[in-house]
Amino acid sequence: MSEPLIQVRDVEFRYPGHSPVLHGVDLTIDRGEFVALLGQNGAGKTTLAKHFNGLLTPTKGQVLVGGKPTSALSLTELARQVGYCYQNPDHQIFAPTVDKEVRFGPDNLGLPDAAELADRALALVGLTAQREANPFVLGRGQRQLLAVASIIAMDPPVLVVDEPTTGMDLAGAERIMRLLASWVADGRTIIVITHDMDVVAEFIPRSVVMAHGEVLADGPTEHVLRRSDLLPEARLLAPPAITVSDELSRFGVGRCGTIRDVADDLVHILGGRDAGRV
């Protein structure tokens, strides 16, 4: 029932005259998966993700998207398949209004329902009221949402989002993560590159940890974030919800992704009133 959508097979990538940035990377992402790519800067996360939409092609090995090697697909074909949201929204935004920014992608791909796709994308990220505004009067968090909207307007089945919550406040981060989760629930595939371990533990079911251009760990987030043998090598720190729920597991607290879940479990175990949900 699972259908491999992105297959990375023994991939090496090096810039000419340099040592490899990626080596021996094997990774399969199925349709409908929600995956976190974790690791410190320079671990190879962004380099790997740029292979998914053909911005880079491997110097050895193969990357297949929908069963076809990216080297055999045109960038336009890949752009319809895989949308890529950059880390810095200002590297992506160029149009004079929010509306024009979001229309550009679907218009450029010649999609017949471009206007509707753009409207829907703006509504999804909550920027309909700002459609006539110049993108650069928006706050950083809103520009990040606009960058995401302009990619999802092209309605790609696969979305790569580089650091969606960087520079965002908590409300903005949760909003964008809920949006991505609902998108996955609709059958899309999303790969998130992030350092925000709290967000990973709360929202993203599968985690791939990279270090020195290799995949160090890959599996369910609740297992991967408990690999205390590997996380230090990738210079990652498990979020408090993970360490606290482990600490309290002998009392029956489950494998929680948020402090709210830990509190709910404890209230159940210790017999308090309903946990104070806010």
Partner: protein, 301 residues
């Protein structure tokens, strides 16, 4: 290690008030709503003030006012007053005191002007006519203060994010300011870069008498350094108190949506809110909270 800046001991109570906003209101030309709505606060010489709050709350606008950018570089209508070293910067300028306050922005790239680290550092003091020998002396001190010793000849483009942001701090230190304003200096950095910048700021706090105002979403790190934390929400100061007072106010953080409350404080607050009888006063210390939960759970079992 020496850090540029005055070396007078920190005195909090009788110290000079270096920054003061009184009933400050501000509205940008095209905005429908004011960005600041009656902000009043004071910073004494040597204080470390943390500022947090959700996006769009007015934190950066407040720093722009303190830096003297409003109304000359950033156009806005204001009422109330902002005094920096006693000068009203909304109606006048800082004059010769302009070099006594420096601002570090979120985006490290945007504040680097030199091709090499040394060129970048020399830019500010050259404009103030500081003699070359003195500039060289300051460069080695500023680089030492941010942990970039020996990197004066490096190309700025080749620095990591954390190094670029440390360079931006060093550039501000070159003018030997009494006050440093930091606007989310770690928000675009990876965990390693964040840790580097926090370490540099913490060292400045410990080893110099510089007044520091830092806007930051990483509450745990901020609380460990700040004398006071202001929470800005919808253009107002929603809270102003010690880190301990504020971190315990989990409801405030969940209401403003600015940042994730510390795990210990959130766990403590959620359990107490649900009627779990934890011992002692609410705590923001994870070891303490876990010990109390453990004691209770063992008794319960």
């Amino acid at each position: 290690m020496t850090v540029p800046g005055p070396q007078a001991p920190r005195t909090r109570n009788d110290a000079e008030i270096v920054l003061a906003a009184e009933d400050l209101w501000l509205i940008y030309p095209t905005a429908e709503q004011p960005s600041l709505r009656g902000v009043t606060f004071r910073a004494r010489a040597g204080e470390f003030i943390g500022i947090t709050g959700p996006s769009g709350a007015g934190k950066s606008t407040l720093l722009a006012c303190l830096q003297g950018l409003v109304p000359r570089s950033v156009t806005a209508e204001t009422t109330g007053s902002v005094r920096v070293f006693g000068h009203d910067v909304l109606t006048g300028t800082l004059g010769a005191d302009g070099s006594r306050i420096g601002l570090v922005l979120q985006d490290a790239e945007a504040q680097i002007v030199g091709m090499t680290v040394a060129e970048d550092l020399a830019f500010g003091p050259e404009n103030y006519g500081v003699p070359p020998a003195e500039i060289r002396r300051r460069i080695s001190r500023a680089l030492a203060a941010v942990g970039l010793d020996g990197m004066a000849g490096r190309d700025t483009y080749a620095l990591s994010g954390g190094q670029k942001q440390r360079l931006a701090i060093a550039s501000v230190l070159m003018l030997e300011p009494d006050v440093i304003l930091l606007d989310e200096p770690t928000s675009e950095l990876d965990p390693v870069g964040k840790a580097e910048v926090f370490e540099v700021v913490d060292r400045l706090r410990r080893e110099s008498a510089t007044t520091i105002v830092m806007v930051e979403h990483e509450l745990d790190r901020l609380a460990a350094m700040a004398d006071r934390i202001l929470v800005v929400d919808q253009g107002r100061i929603a809270a102003d108190g010690t880190p301990a007072e504020l971190l315990a106010d989990v409801a405030l953080f969940l209401r403003t949506g600015g940042e994730r409350p510390p795990a210990a404080a959130e766990l403590d607050w959620r359990l107490r809110s649900a009627g779990i009888p934890l011992d002692g006063e609410p705590s923001t210390d994870l070891v303490t909270v876990l010990a109390r939960i453990t004691a209770l759970a063992e008794k319960h079992a």
